[in-house]
């Protein structure tokens, strides 16, 4: 496992936003030129290179949060591999026209990375009607903040109050989903 991956794995809950931005900046320096060159080979634009690179970075970042994740190649090589798969998927490029080596062939895109128009609409509704709930739940489930820290961030007097609100927020999200009759299988392409 590379040093960078180890750094990103370590105590995620303590990683502040600014530390995360520093990690993203470092990965930008390391990996963006390679992805940009790849995209330009396929006559893609800077905007397309940026979009594919940022999606690849998010996928890579999520993988580093999994303690079982390890790679034998530098992060920039792995991110380029993810970007190639995203490019093939997004622009329906013939796989044979993209040079995929042994490392690339081991990479799979997350099955939940391509939301359907329905799920995008649903998220927009919640962003309007329940943004605070989304932020609170995101802190808990994806930023791995503990409930005491969440209580402080969101202005609750006690961790218990934050915990109760977390439950209410989760129920609110579920109510909206249920109201639209969308099942888990309908969320992704």
């Amino acid at each position: 496992m590379t040093d960078l991956v180890k750094t990103m794995d370590r105590d995620y809950s303590a990683v502040t936003n600014s530390k995360r931005e520093q990690q993203f900046e470092r990965l930008y320096e390391l990996a963006f030129p390679g992805v940009a060159r790849f995209v330009s080979l396929f006559s893609g634009s800077l905007q397309e290179a940026k979009d594919v690179f940022q999606d690849a970075l998010i996928i890579y970042y999520e993988r580093t949060e999994d303690s079982t994740f390890s790679i034998s190649v530098p992060p920039e090589r792995y991110i380029l591999g993810i970007a190639k798969h995203l490019w093939i998927r997004k622009y329906k490029v013939d796989r044979r026209s993209v040079s995929l080596d042994n490392v690339d062939e081991t990479i799979a895109l997350p099955s939940d990375f391509f939301p359907t128009p329905n799920s995008i609409r649903l998220l927009r509704v919640l962003e309007v009607t329940g943004k605070k709930c989304l932020d609170l739940l995101r802190s808990f489930y994806f930023q791995k903040e503990n409930i005491a820290s969440i209580a402080g961030t969101f202005g609750f007097t006690t961790p218990h109050a934050a915990s109760v609100q977390k439950y209410k927020c989760l129920e609110k999200v579920k109510k909206v989903i249920k109201g639209k009759s969308i099942t888990y299988e309908d969320f992704f392409e």
Binding site: E25, Y28, E29, L46, I58, L123, Y141, F142, K174, F188
Partner: protein, 89 residues
């Protein structure tokens, strides 16, 4: 129908793989025999999927700021020049 706290705890432990062997068996048995429980699980997975979408959207906002900084900050001039060479205007 509200999801009980206990159901949420068990489902979350199942999803992150932290149920014991016996608890997993019990969970799977309940899933195969109880349509109501399957619906609760499906709804919970949907909620988490939506939250992950939101999380990714927020990360993209952060990455947009990072991109702007990397392309305009004189400290990153080499990177910005590399990218300009790849995509000449």
């Amino acid at each position: 129908m509200k999801t009980s706290l206990n159901n949420i705890r068990v489902i979350e432990k199942f999803l992150d793989g932290s149920l014991s062997h016996d608890e997993s068996l019990k969970f799977l048995t309940k899933m195969s025999s109880d349509q109501g429980f399957r619906n609760i699980l499906n709804l919970h997975q949907s909620a988490l999927a939506l939250l992950r979408m939101y999380h990714r959207k927020k990360l993209k906002v952060i990455l947009e700021d990072v991109h702007h900084k990397m392309m305009t900050n004189p400290l990153n001039a080499t990177l910005a020049q590399d990218i300009k060479n790849i995509f000449p205007q």
